[in-house]
Symmetry: C2
Subunit: 343 residues, 2 copies
């Protein structure tokens, strides 16, 4: 009717000549209303262009159709593909996705907390390993939540990630198969479980091949490009050089490559280098980086599906969903250089 104000359920009821209760039922539990009435209601809806006011509905129901996604850095290119998965799954179930960007700042995280308290979000997707909110009394009040990549804080919150151990294993196995015996591992000493597991996979691979791990070849960094470069420097002051650098993530690998090139070495001619994550830039590095692909969109999809399940009281089958990591072979790995063999 009047185009200015959106139609309410009452407008529909008037036109369909039924009560508003019937309209509501016709929409949400159609099997409870007579076919003929349902028809009238549907016509009235079509005429008015009625859409139910989500605010009123959420208020009445006590929960909204929004999912809050909190990530430390939404500018991270890796984030966007996951977001696609999250969003698709959410939308196809009538949920909307709300974005929160903490930049690892507790203050900001706290502001998002308000969205939860004020019932604006029915569920939570967490990207950080640690609960962003000062977990004090908080944890109790948290709505159904799902973590991405890692278990959240004190557990209890299911998460979706990849099998980091297996992924790392695939990388070492490749290097070993190529003939490498002295493999450096450039790690990340921060508390992320994923990084610990990649190290585990590395150790397991060496072990399985009967290679004695050399602790001198293990360097701890912080996952940044710079830490990769620094690790190279540290290794070169010693006299035990590896023939391959296995890096905990692609950033680190890039740093390693830069460091190696700065010293005039050829990759993979002189040294092989591997990454982990398959960031979009990996294809464009020179040489293109051999790494482990994170099925990002799928991770997002599964995480959202899990959360949506939680929201419908379906208890999660498992508290940990680990997807299969795939090895992406590009050009940064080859057999160890004769140069070092001779030595």
């Amino acid at each position: 009717m009047s185009e200015s104000t959106p139609a309410t359920i009452e407008d529909v009821a008037r036109i369909a000549e039924v009560s508003i209760a019937t309209v509501s039922r016709a929409i949400h539990t159609p099997e409870k209303v007579a076919k003929s009435t349902r028809l009238k209601v549907n016509q009235a809806i079509a005429i008015t262009g009625y859409t139910t006011n989500a605010m009123a509905r959420s208020l009445r129901l006590g929960r909204s159709n929004m999912i809050l996604v909190v990530a430390p850095d939404i500018g991270d290119p890796n984030f966007s593909s996951i977001l696609v998965g999250l969003e698709n799954e959410a939308r196809s179930h009538g949920y909307g996705v709300l974005i929160g960007h903490t930049q690892n700042d507790a203050q900001r995280a706290l502001e998002y907390l308000k969205f939860l308290n004020s019932n604006q979000a029915a569920g939570l997707i967490l990207f950080t390993g640690i609960l962003p909110f000062g977990h004090e009394t908080m944890t109790a009040r948290l709505p159904p939540s799902v973590g991405i990549f890692e278990p959240v804080f004190n557990g209890g919150i299911p998460y979706v990630g990849i099998d980091d151990i297996e992924g790392a294993r695939k990388v070492v196995d490749l290097l070993i198969a190529e003939g490498h015996r002295k493999i450096a591992f450039i790690g990340d000493s921060r508390t992320r479980l994923a990084y610990k597991r990649r190290r585990e996979g590395f150790d397991a691979g060496l072990d399985a091949a009967g290679i004695r791990a050399e602790l001198r070849l293990v360097q701890e960094g912080d996952g940044t490009l710079e830490s990769g470069r620094a690790a190279v420097e540290r290794l070169f002051v010693r006299d035990t050089l590896p023939t391959a650098f296995m890096c905990v993530n692609d950033q680190t690998a890039l740093g390693v490559m830069i460091g190696l090139k700065a010293r005039g070495y050829d990759i993979p001619g002189d040294f092989s280098v591997t990454g982990f994550d398959d960031v979009p830039q990996a294809t464009f590095m020179t040489p293109a980086l051999t790494t482990i692909r994170q099925p990002r969109t799928l991770i997002g999809k599964q995480a959202m599906a899990l959360l949506l399940g939680l929201l419908s009281d379906r208890r999660p089958a498992e508290t940990e969903i680990l997807l299969r990591p795939d090895l992406v072979v590009r050009n940064s790995v080859t057999a160890p250089s004769r140069r070092w063999m001779a030595k």
Copy 2:
């Protein structure tokens, strides 16, 4: 009190020994309540941990504190930096950001329309040049909106972008300064205004230098990597070769570089290549791509600021905000090859 149920305004009122109206006023229009009362209310709020229920508030007010951001592809790495700007600005004004992902699918776009109709979003940020919703009756009902990069549909909606003409001009000017006279332009024939403008800048630059434009050197593509490669092939079947390829965007430039390398040429030794947009991969291409930087985060910030202004009834000062494009000089441009000079 009871931790199970979030505190309502009534709980606060009871503790502060005032009416709920006073509590509401103490929060939103503190100057209207006596200092002593204000104090009592604040204490009560602290005790209860009260946060106003956004659903109820939005219902009453008739508008929410959510901004819907609709983009054709939220997986696009360029999107994320803009999102950072949007999100920061929104959050600092108490607004939340809702993500919509249309994949250029009208059907999906329509689903987002529901968020608007149902009052779930107070404003709209549009990434597509064309209105995603089948603009029929829609346009009238649209909430305050702001476009990104381009004017939306039939105008009337302000937008924030960069000055594409000036950006393109900076590129041609650089090429010309390096000594290039025969410059190919690999364009995008789709209807995006930005692309038209980049072409305009190209023409203007040539004109200003007194170089006669050769239409044969202008190739229309569709902005994809493949279209860049195809353009190279088309140019090589003719005998008029350029010494430089100016591409409408970085994707196209990458395609051109691949095409050129496949034919055994060196960049920039044999041909110079330029892009536009400065996508994250540009640094990693070989050679690193000389291109135009989009101040993405700033664009997001400004767009959101503009929208927030609209929401407070402040009419926009201008309907078009064009930010300054910066030239990013890397390694894909050099003086024209002697090889062609000799010819």
